[in-house]
């Protein structure tokens, strides 16, 4: 990230914001009603409309929304509008399984996503594989956020603070408030962070109009400099559009941390209204972030590959030079970016901690452990994993978009267990397990080879094979059962 010549006032604001997160964490810890896993990991299943909507928003719009989306808009141009449709598709995807899942979670007291999988498909192999997939996805997710945090701290300090130490400090703050307050703390800080992000998006719209010469001249310039980035998708581009909507729309709807928020909703009505709100937010949030990326094509030409992920930082640098209002805008925007990164990372870490506590420690390592002991084990696990990831975040050399895509390749293969599980009562565990294994082999294999047949993401191709395997195995098992019945 480019160095930003920030003033003391800006740094005090950021420090105050970080301190307020710790205060909220402490306050949330005082609100705990008991030491059960449900209270710690789901906030006692009492999340109201605004907190639920803002925490879903903050969880779903990560550092990628601000750095990755602008970077990708810069790289590929207007065909990246597919991300707007994808974010709406996420909510359409929820409609296919969330109502039933929420009802079941209240009846059977689910804590982790895997609790539903185990309830619906009683197979140890399937639940272990799903848990493994979710852990890999969450680790990938946290890693991407830490990587951006490091870049940001280095840029803010003009290279005087090493990325590693910046990430260490932010990670410790994040872990303290999520450890002491659990989901309540994470959701409350998410609500504040979500509100800050929304304010950040308003500021971006103002920046474009006020400091970047306005929308109209910027797009005129874009038409002259890079007309190819204004072109509609060609045949292959349309396939990639379709694949992106499937990949993100279905994949993001089964984020482990999002599923836990479905469990944590106070009532079906609360969840309904929150999802309705979530369907409107992309029209504003995604559009302004993309517009910033498009405008940057004309303003900062020539950035390629991972360098394009820096357009947000370049724009902030420009805005800073416009005087006191620029400083205020950038300071608030920095708060919003930090909010986006921390809200996503803390939710993912809490989900990771719950999967370890409930699905691994409480089930396999120490089945007789109390809820409080399981929660403690989950907290230790989150600290350890975070320690490893902090180190790894300074070693990796992948672009943000590539990291972003990898988790969807895997999540997409887990989705049938939820989507089909709630809608098809006759479906058994063997077809889902075989489909998951097939889909994972195709998706991860394809991803590692950089394979994109006809413009389809490897995860989408994996889902296709996954689905075919489920259908084949389901009907093969049904025919076998019918044959046995007839023979009897």
């Amino acid at each position: 990230m480019q160095a930003l010549p920030l003033e003391t006032g800006s740094l005090i604001f950021v420090a105050g914001y970080l301190l307020s997160l710790l205060v909220i964490g402490w306050f949330a810890s005082r609100q705990r009603q008991d030491k059960s896993l449900g209270d710690y990991y789901l906030g006692g299943r009492g999340m109201g409309l605004w907190v639920l909507m803002l925490t879903l928003f903050a969880t779903q719009y990560s550092g990628n929304a601000l750095f990755g989306f602008t970077g990708q808009a810069y790289r590929v141009g207007f065909t990246w509008l597919a991300i707007l449709h994808s974010m709406i598709a996420v909510v359409a995807g929820y409609l296919l399984f969330a109502p039933q899942l929420q009802r079941l979670s209240r009846q059977h007291h689910f804590i982790t996503p895997n609790d539903y999988v185990e309830f619906r498909f009683p197979s140890r192999a399937l639940s272990a594989l799903v848990a493994l997939c979710l852990i890999v996805v969450l680790i990938n997710y946290v890693l991407a956020q830490l990587k951006v945090m490091g870049l940001m701290v280095e840029g803010l300090s003009g290279g005087q603070v090493d990325a590693f130490w910046g990430v260490v400090v932010l990670a410790i703050i994040m872990m303290i408030y999520s450890t002491i307050g659990g989901m309540r703390s994470v959701a409350w800080t998410d609500a504040i962070q979500g509100a800050m992000m929304l304010m950040g998006f308003v500021l971006i719209a103002i920046i474009i109009e006020r400091d970047m010469g306005g929308w109209s001249p910027a797009f005129e310039q874009l038409r002259e400099i890079a007309p190819e980035k204004l072109a509609p998708p060609d045949g292959r581009g349309a396939v990639t559009w379709l694949s992106t909507v499937i990949l993100i729309g279905i994949g993001a709807s089964v984020y482990p941390q999002a599923i836990q928020r479905i469990y944590a909703a106070r009532s079906a009505r609360t969840l309904q209204q929150s999802l309705a709100g979530m369907a409107v937010l992309p029209l504003f949030a995604v559009v302004v972030v993309l517009a910033l990326g498009f405008v940057a094509i004309a303003r900062f030409p020539g950035l390629e590959g991972a360098a394009a992920d820096q357009v947000m930082a370049l724009i902030m640098r420009d805005v800073l030079s416009t005087g006191w209002f620029g400083h205020v805008v950038v300071t608030l925007l920095l708060g919003a970016i930090l909010a986006a990164l921390m809200s996503t990372a803390d939710s993912a870490l809490l989900a990771l901690s719950s999967i370890f506590a409930k699905d691994l420690y409480g089930k396999y390592l120490r089945p007789t452990a109390s809820d409080a002991a399981c929660a403690r084990a989950g907290q230790w696990c989150a600290w350890l994993i975070l320690g490893g990831l902090v180190w790894l975040s300074t070693q990796e050399n992948l672009t943000l978009y590539r990291l972003f895509v990898l988790k969807f390749e895997i999540l997409l293969q887990v989705a049938p267990a939820f989507y089909l599980g709630v809608n098809f009562p006759s479906l058994r565990s063997t077809p889902i397990l075989l489909g998951l294994v097939t889909g994972l082999c195709v998706a991860v294999g394809g991803w590692s080879m950089g394979w994109m047949p006809f413009g389809l993401h490897p995860g989408t191709v994996g889902l296709l094979f996954n689905g075919l395997m489920i259908i084949t195995a389901h009907y093969a098992l049904s025919l076998r059962a019918l044959g046995t019945k007839v023979a009897d």
Binding site: F78, T79, L81, A82, L84, H85, S86, I88, A89, V91, A92, G93, Y94, L95, L96, P99, Q100, R103, W215, S216, F219, L230, A231, P232, P233, G237, A238, W241, L242, V245, I246, G249, I250, A268, Q272, Q273, L275, A276, A279, V280, P282, L283, V287, N423, F424, P425
Partner: protein, 71 residues
């Protein structure tokens, strides 16, 4: 399938996902003959489609939720 997809929300979700995936297949090379303000016509049509689909998702979330007494 019909038997299990018996509420409007689930049907709406399916239809919306299909529509969202299918949209770019209909962009003509001449931008609908519309050389619009700021950006080409296909971009405006994409944005209008997004607004319409978002409104449908809101409707489906609020009105298409399954009736628990029926389920």
């Amino acid at each position: 399938m019909t038997q299990h997809l018996k509420n409007r929300g689930r049907w709406s979700g399916l239809v919306l996902l299909t529509a969202l995936c299918g949209i770019p297949w209909y962009w003509p090379d001449d931008n609908f003959g519309w050389h619009a303000w700021l950006v080409p016509g296909w971009v405006w049509v994409t944005l209008i489609a997004a607004i319409a689909l978002s409104a449908l998702v809101v409707w489906a979330a609020l009105k298409g939720w399954p009736d628990e007494s029926v389920e």
